[in-house]
């Protein structure tokens, strides 16, 4: 029991990998076994996360459940894990979405074993980023997460998957080059990669120290942008966003769920865990620039989404739009650090990450449900499906409304907090972002209209094309998502308190 308590994080982190390795020795032909094994295995980290959530001490400051092992002694990198309220929320999101994504993948029939294994590896990769308290470990997991996703898109994706997977991989890796250099620089300067130590030492450098022939300010500015660009690509911020519609559209359904649900959060999490604490001064100086990119994402994401005729691309662009609010909140928090505005904006940003994870995963899944049946994502082929699939229609409207930010559902709470936090410090930006919010409505309604509404669609109503209603397994994927969407919309404080405590302590 003691082992269990002291190793909770590494258990959650590595159980998926262990399960994947066990799968290696299971008979690959037994697809049913593969599915249920993977599903069962992904449930364990989720249950452990609930234990973690339950044992998490709200009033303690700093990181909890810390574990530290020697890892790369020569350069003083240690395997240091720990969570605070922000990362705990993200861990919950990851372990919550992965079983659902696996359940959503039960309809995959092609090479089930490697498919499921990749998902489990992916889970470890993502969790590692959220738990890491060592820069090098952070970077390692950051890159590890790319590999399974690359193969998922490349091997199980749709028509244009080669282009999309390559673009996804190269873009993210290219973006991370600067990050790697900056991480190395920090390691060399301080002889450690430990985040907790770095927070302190890096910020206590006096301004007139010379580093590598430059002033501290210059070095920090360069390093700030090296970090920021890596994360901006991942979030993605405008104008680094064009990999996203391609990758999302070509990925298999569950891949898109995780991609939108968790992988995008890695970028935003990077801003929160690394950029703001390591570069508070630069974050303040460049908050306006970040806000420009964020507002660009909000506005152009909304317009981009409205301009699509492919259902999945429409949803993909909506991620750009929603993640823009996360970064707007982060920019505001950077600008107003230490004030109530910053806390509110950051609360909103973190909650928005969680909320977007739920609604985007749900939306992608629902697109997948209809794609599986019709083999098309072209919105012009749909329309008038509501009478054929009333249950699906109801679920789609519900999830769309969450995505639209309807009050009473989760998205509203976080968007409201971001707007409230950002307004006093970034007035014009927030005002412009309202344009994006307006057009969020436009693309969501367009999606519903083009799929469900209109005269009964005869093509899908009869014969071989007859559209079948969403099945029980698919409903079971959606129910937990919808329940959580509603619960957070009505009673957000259970999760927001966890976030809030960490935010107040950090910013």
């Amino acid at each position: 029991m003691d082992f269990f308590n002291t190793h909770l994080l590494s258990l959650i982190l590595f159980l998926p990998t262990i399960a994947a390795l066990i799968m290696l020795f299971l008979p690959g032909g037994e697809t049913k076994l593969m599915r249920w094994f993977a599903f069962g295995a992904s449930l364990i980290p989720f249950v452990l996360t609930l234990v973690l959530w339950n044992n998490f001490d709200l009033n303690a400051t700093g990181f909890q459940f810390e574990e530290k092992y020697t890892w790369y002694e020569a350069i003083n990198a240690s395997f240091h894990l720990g969570v605070d309220g922000i990362s705990l929320t993200m861990v919950l999101l990851t372990t919550f979405l992965t079983p659902l994504a696996i359940l959503a993948s039960f309809s995959v029939t092609d090479r089930v074993k490697p498919y499921m294994m990749l998902f489990l590896f992916l889970e470890t990769g993502m969790l590692g980023v959220f738990m890491a308290l060592d820069l090098l470990i952070f970077f390692v997991f950051w890159e590890i997460g790319l590999v399974p996703m690359y193969f998922l898109i490349n091997q199980w994706g749709s028509a244009n998957r080669d282009y999309a997977s390559l673009k996804f991989m190269i873009y993210t890796m290219g973006g991370s080059l600067g990050l790697l250099l900056a991480v190395q620089m920090l390691g060399v300067l301080f002889g450690t990669y430990d985040l907790v130590t770095l927070y302190q030492q890096w910020n206590s450098l006096s301004a007139d120290t010379a580093l590598m022939g430059m002033t501290v300010g210059t070095v920090k500015t360069i390093a700030f942008w090296a970090f920021a660009i890596a994360f901006a690509v991942k979030v993605p911020l405008w104008p680094f966003h064009t990999w996203l519609p391609d990758a999302h559209t070509e990925a298999p359904t569950a891949g898109s769920m995780i991609l939108a649900g968790v992988l995008l959060k890695l970028g935003a999490y990077g801003f929160i865990r690394l950029v703001l604490p390591l570069y508070p001064v630069e974050a303040k100086i460049f908050a306006g620039w970040l806000a420009v990119l964020a507002v660009g994402a909000i506005v152009f994401g909304a317009f981009g989404s409205l301009g699509q005729t492919d259902f999945k691309r429409l949803v993909a662009y909506s991620s750009v739009n929603h993640m823009g609010f996360v970064v707007l909140g982060i920019a505001a928090a950077g600008l107003a650090a230490g004030t109530a505005d910053a806390h509110i904006a950051m609360n909103g940003a973190v909650l928005q990450m969680f909320n977007h994870g739920l609604s985007a995963a749900g939306m992608f899944f629902l697109v997948g449900v209809i794609y599986e049946r019709t083999h098309t994502r072209d919105l012009n082929q749909f329309g008038g499906l509501f009478p054929l699939v009333p249950v699906y229609g109801g679920i789609l409207i519900f999830t769309s409304m969450a995505s639209l930010g309807l009050p009473g559902l989760n998205g509203f709470v976080s968007e409201f907090l971001v707007v409230r936090g950002a307004y006093p410090v970034l007035k014009i930006y927030t005002a412009i972002s309202m344009l994006g919010l307006l057009f969020t409505g436009a693309y969501i309604l367009k999606g519903i209209m083009k799929v469900l509404h209109g005269p009964l669609n005869e093509h899908w109503a009869h014969g071989e094309h007859k559209l079948t209603e969403i099945n029980t397994r698919e409903i079971l994927v959606m129910v937990p998502l919808m329940a959580l969407i509603l619960v957070i919309g009505v009673w957000p404080s259970w999760i927001l308190e966890v976030i809030n405590k960490a935010v107040v302590a950090l910013f």
Partner: protein, 719 residues
């Protein structure tokens, strides 16, 4: 149960009904409507108990029922949400509960409960009638709505939104209810989603109101960030209002209070369909008629006005009775008065029975908004409530008329006859007496028929306030609008009910079932009686006979009780002249008109609503679609950004092949690699001749090398 906990419970039954119907009872129509009506009844009961208890509290305005809880942690503090019943809420709760309950009951009959399923009815389309055989011959009867249960679920959610909004003690939950109603209006206007017109109207309603909503959201964020609270009673403390009123913002000369009020007001412009965001409301007629009543009277548009009334202290911060209007107030007054007149001009030329009412709603809301703009708080609340009663009555009445006409259409089987076109009606008073008399009451109330109707008292108070306080432009505009209101209302009554039936269908129209007529009768009681609770004290002859309860009660909401208006004969005479004149003229002009061709007022610009839809299409919608479909999606993302990215592929490839072709191959491969080999081979080849195998030659060579090395060593090391 304490009043406070009861207030918390008021909004809940309808939302529970929504979930119950959606999840469990949707297959069973009777159970579904029972759940919904039962829920509306519970809310009604709760509202009535609260109302009665509120009446019993002295100085309710200073000691309202309130209770709140922590909802959102915001750094070190919490954002609280809660409920509040002060006199304003109590009065609004009263009419909302009544109208909602009536509409719920009415919907049972409207959707043909108890009738057979239609022959060819589809989900998403209005029912088309069912053929039944009676005594050996077939006839067509109305058929039940195929999505009957769904309708009750949606209006349940709608009612929840409104109740939430009304009992809220803060702007955030008010906004929550506000937006939930936005969703419900979308779902219900597009209820028959199979009709493209309904589908488009639903989107138009949601998007147009959302324009207002995003401004409102900014306003809320602004207010919250400067005051640190969203709770009404905290915001309206003298200290905060004073600060807000004295901080300039540099935007159009508005103070912080003014700017916030204007931002919030733009939300109302959307929700209450004021010019220039009025375009959605007439199209909202695409929904089933109970929905129109819901939107136009009980909930949505009333909510918009209610929000401005709630924010009245903020809107008027820095202003006192009799002083010049603040810029924010002038803006509000302008929008209201302009809308009142503007919408009335359009209503005159409409032939659809529901569209006339739709424009009359916009116009009447303009009256309320204008009243608030000039600071006539009580008059605005009064008109809001009387209007809710008589407009609910009129809409339900028009639904009853349409229902009766549809009966006729089913009888004759001629589906080309539009049952909503007033020119197809005529003479319905004999066929549908209850509908006629109740509609007449509603119409007269709308026109402000003197003394007996509620509409007279409330409208008169607005005019009187404008006149006495010297807002002559507002007064004149509203007076003209009131005249036109009476005129088009009488036009409507004349064309619909008076004269002779103009079509076979109208001849075969039938009175509707009791589930529809009973709500009409109950509402007509309020359309008349509610006026009597607010008769001004100084009114000639009858003033003071009944106490002016409304002024006393609702006035107590404000920190400073508004003074009683002194009596002036001019506005009273104006009211009498415009109401009676409009009604008389309307009857006189239309008593013999039988077709649109004979109607002199079918002017194109009015019929086409001053072309606002067309203008918006060209100026906003088309460019927005072009911007998203072409500019952002094609040019920016695919063309420019991806274009740059796609340069990287060939560019790195180019660098790679350049390195290969100009460095690797010539230099490394040819020069270094092959070159070394060649050189070694060449050297070897050329050295071959000295490998002769003769010892003497080797020795001579060794000797030469020895001397050379020795010489070099000597030269470099020793010398």
């Amino acid at each position: 149960m304490t009043t406070e906990s009861l207030i918390w419970l008021i909004p809940l039954p309808p939302v529970l009904a929504f979930f119950l119907i959606v999840l469990f009872t949707n297959k069973n129509k009777a159970l579904s409507h029972s759940v919904a009506v039962g829920a509306a009844f519970l809310s009604w009961l709760g509202a009535m108990i609260v109302f009665v208890r509120a009446l019993g509290v002295e100085h309710l305005g200073e000691h309202p029922f309130e209770s709140s809880i922590n909802w959102l942690p915001t750094g070190e503090t919490w954002l609280k949400i809660g409920v509040l019943v002060d006199p304003l809420t109590a009065a609004v709760l009263f009419f909302v509960a009544w109208t909602v309950l009536m509409i719920f009951i009415y919907s049972i009959g409207y959707h043909n409960y108890g009738q057979p399923a239609g022959d060819h009815d589809h989900k998403g389309l209005p029912p088309h009638g069912a053929t039944v055989e009676e005594h050996g011959h077939k006839r067509v009867v109305p058929s039940i709505e195929p999505m009957y249960s769904r309708f009750f679920a949606f209006i349940g959610l709608f009612a929840f939104g409104m109740f939430t909004l009304v009992v809220s003690d803060n702007l955030l939950t008010l906004f929550v209810g506000w937006e939930i109603m936005g969703l419900c209006s979308y779902l219900l206007i597009g209820f028959w989603y199979g009709k493209p017109s309904a589908r488009n109207a639903a989107i138009k309603a949601f998007m147009t109101t959302r324009i207002g909503d995003v401004f409102m959201l900014i306003g809320i964020a602004f207010l919250y960030s400067v005051t640190g609270t969203l709770s009404f009673r905290e915001i309206f403390s003298e200290e905060i209002l004073h600060t807000l009123a004295s901080v300039p913002t540099g935007v159009f000369g508005l103070s912080a209070a003014g700017l916030i009020a204007v931002l919030l007001f733009i939300g109302t412009v959307g929700k209450s369909a004021q010019w220039p965001l009025h375009v959605w409301l007439p199209d909202a007629m695409e929904g089933p008629t109970p929905v129109s009543a819901m939107i136009h009277a009980a909930t949505m548009v009333s909510a918009g006005v209610y929000a401005v009334i709630r924010m009245f202290p903020l809107l008027t911060a820095g202003w006192h009775e009799g002083a010049a209007l603040t810029p924010a107030m002038s803006f509000v007054a302008f929008i209201g008065a302009f809308t009142a007149l503007f919408a009335a001009t359009i209503a005159v030329a409409q032939n659809d029975i529901k569209r006339v009412l739709a424009y009359s709603t916009i116009s009447q809301l303009g009256f309320m908004i204008a009243a608030l703009g000039i600071g006539a708080y009580i008059a605005a609340v009064f008109h809001l409530i009387t209007h809710a009663f008589f407009k609910a009555l009129l809409f339900l009445g028009s639904g009853s008329v349409i229902h009766g006409m549809e009966h006729g259409v089913l009888h004759t089987g001629n589906h080309n006859v539009d049952p909503q076109d007033m020119f197809n009606m005529g003479g319905l008073r004999k066929k549908m007496p209850i509908t006629f008399w109740t509609f007449l009451i509603g119409g007269f109330a709308l026109s402000g028929f003197p003394l007996v109707t509620a509409g007279f008292w409330s409208k008169d108070e607005i005019l009187a306030d404008a006149f006495v306080n010297g807002h002559m432009v507002v007064f004149a505009t509203l007076a003209i609008a009131a005249f036109m209101t009476a005129f088009y209302t009488m036009r409507q009554i004349t064309l619909t009910f008076l004269g002779q039936a103009r079509t076979k269908e109208a001849e075969h129209a039938q009175e509707t079932p009791f589930t529809m007529t009973v709500p009409l009768m109950i509402l007509s009681v309020f359309a008349i009686g509610y006026g009597w609770v607010g008769i001004p004290e100084h009114f000639p002859l009858i003033g003071g006979l009944v106490p002016n309860w409304f002024h006393e009660f609702v006035g107590g909401t404000l920190a400073e009780h508004p003074p009683v208006l002194e009596f002036n004969i001019v506005p009273l005479l104006t009211s009498l002249v415009v109401a009676l004149g409009g009604l008389g003229l309307g009857w006189y002009v239309y008593r013999n008109v039988n077709s649109p061709a004979e109607d002199k007022l079918q002017i194109n610009v009015l019929k086409n609503k001053w072309y606002f839809d067309e203008i918006y299409e060209v100026v906003f919608i088309k460019p927005a679609l072009w911007f998203s479909e072409v500019f952002v999606s094609q040019w920016m993302d695919k063309g420019f950004i991806d274009g740059i990215l796609h340069v990287f592929g060939p560019a790195t490839g180019g660098v790679g092949s350049a390195i290969r072709n100009y460095f690797d191959i010539p230099f490394i491969n040819r020069f270094l690699g092959d070159g070394t080999a060649d050189a070694t081979w060449w050297v070897g080849k050329n050295l071959r001749p000295i490998q002769t195998g003769r010892i003497q030659q080797y020795l001579v060579l060794s000797l030469i090398v020895l001397f050379l090395v020795g010489g070099l060593l000597y030269y470099f090391l020793l010398a």
